[in-house]
């Protein structure tokens, strides 16, 4: 197990994450390689989310995430401070996951939306009313599974962008930079991903399964 030497922790203001990150990068590139885990720790979940978006399998996603972090570690000397570390790391993760997907599943069928024309207008399904799915429902594994399945059914190009923007909270510019596509393409695909997810999840709402009333005291559905 990696032992973190607390005597060499970085002495900077906790509010200034960016300065802290730059300082860590400078020190790692200067030879203090044992600080690398401290640098990647805040990004672990994001790296996993990025690989999961492509591989759609927790075990494969974890393996690819680990490999991506090891590659980042091996190539730290190539990182230039003009770029954001999170963007660079996510790029490595995306490339690793894509490479594995091509290698392991060359025959895989592209899911929903992959070949749809993203320039055309997407017509959202018509529902008279949207029954809001409350955030507290995420405590339930079945709800998370439902949302994960819906996400997994999107085409990869939509899934990637949706995860980077709406799960990992990268800016539109960062998503564009990470994937090497234009800002306009990011926005178009993001819009379509969001609308497709809404349409996929809407049928699950019938019967008020997710309604707030279901979570009132004494009336829990589980």
């Amino acid at each position: 197990m990696l032992i973190v030497d607390t005597s060499i922790s970085v002495k900077v203001s906790p509010n200034n994450e960016e300065t802290r990150e730059h300082d860590l990068i400078r020190r790692i590139q200067g030879g203090e390689r044992e600080l690398f885990y401290e640098l990647v720790r805040p990004h672990e979940r994001r790296v996993y989310a990025a690989t999961f978006a492509i591989l759609r399998n927790p075990a494969d996603a974890e393996d690819a995430a680990q490999e991506a972090i090891l590659k980042a570690f091996a190539h730290m000397h190539q990182f230039r401070s003009e770029a954001r570390f999170s963007t660079w790391l996510t790029q490595i993760a995306i490339n690793e996951a894509r490479m594995r997907r091509r290698k392991d599943h060359p025959e895989i069928m592209q899911p929903l939306g992959e070949h749809q024309d993203e320039e055309g207008v997407y017509t959202p399904r018509e529902f008279p009313d949207w029954r809001e799915i409350p955030s507290e429902s995420l405590e339930r594994a079945e709800v998370r599974e439902l949302l994960t399945e819906a996400l997994a059914s999107l085409g990869e190009k939509y899934r990637e962008i949706f995860v980077l923007r709406d799960v990992n909270h990268l800016s539109i510019e960062e998503v564009a930079e990470t994937l090497g596509i234009s800002r306009a393409s990011v926005k178009t695909r993001l819009l379509r991903a969001r609308l497709m997810l809404r349409d996929l999840l809407a049928p699950k709402l019938s019967g008020g399964f997710f309604s707030r009333e279901s979570f009132q005291k004494g009336n829990k559905p589980w």
């Binding site: 044992e34 680990q66 018509e126 008279p128 995420l138």
Partner: protein
């Protein structure tokens, strides 16, 4: 400014991200008041963004961080030595050098026995053990090395022979010719000293 449903659907993401021209935003606000379908699209899209943006939505597998640390630890270079470590290492080198110098034969320590050279092919640098009150040297683990024979020392076969010790015919048998073994056996068992 009046917007159609299609225009609203195209801009709904930008509306949520607050990335719209103010006049278009106002027009869309007015549209949502009159169009239930578009209001439903807006509510649903917002809800999706909120749900998937929640930390609870995508949970990393149990033990993920630990496994990550473990794999990284394997890639980490060995930690550089401290000054104290270097001092200890230098002291160890000095001790070994001193021990080697002390173990070199001097004219006063020669107790050469003809038995020692009795046709054996024992490698000179073979690590052997001798006991204080015995004339025989052994390899570690030999059952004929008795701890009640006094203090046990470790040295090379060459040093042992130089000090007058003879090889054990049991544990070192493979290095001894039959003649040498017989010679050792005869002289030792007869209690004669060479």
């Amino acid at each position: 400014m009046v917007v159609t449903c299609e225009q609203v659907w195209l801009e709904i993401s930008n509306y949520i991200e607050n990335d719209l021209d103010p006049s278009l935003r106002t027009a869309m606000d007015e549209h949502f008041h009159t169009c239930s379908r578009c209001a439903s699209v807006l509510a649903g899209t917002r809800n999706i963004v909120q749900l998937y943006g929640d930390e609870r939505m995508l949970q990393v597998p149990l033990g993920y961080s630990g496994r990550m640390q473990k794999r990284l630890a394997k890639e980490m270079p060995a930690k550089r030595g401290t000054i104290f470590g270097w001092v200890v290492a230098a002291a160890a080198v000095a001790l070994i050098a001193g021990a080697i110098a002390l173990s070199k034969p001097s004219s006063q320590t020669v107790q050469q026995s003809p038995l020692a050279k009795a046709g054996n092919n024992i490698p000179a640098n073979l690590a052997v053990l001798v006991s204080e009150h015995s004339k025989i040297f052994h390899v570690a683990g030999c059952k004929f090395l008795h701890t009640n024979d006094g203090k046990i020392r470790s040295l090379t076969a060459e040093q042992a022979e130089h000090e007058g010790y003879v090889p054990c015919i049991h544990c070192l048998a493979k290095y001894l010719t039959n003649t040498a073994a017989d010679f050792i056996k005869k002289h030792l068992w007869l209690g004669t000293s060479a």
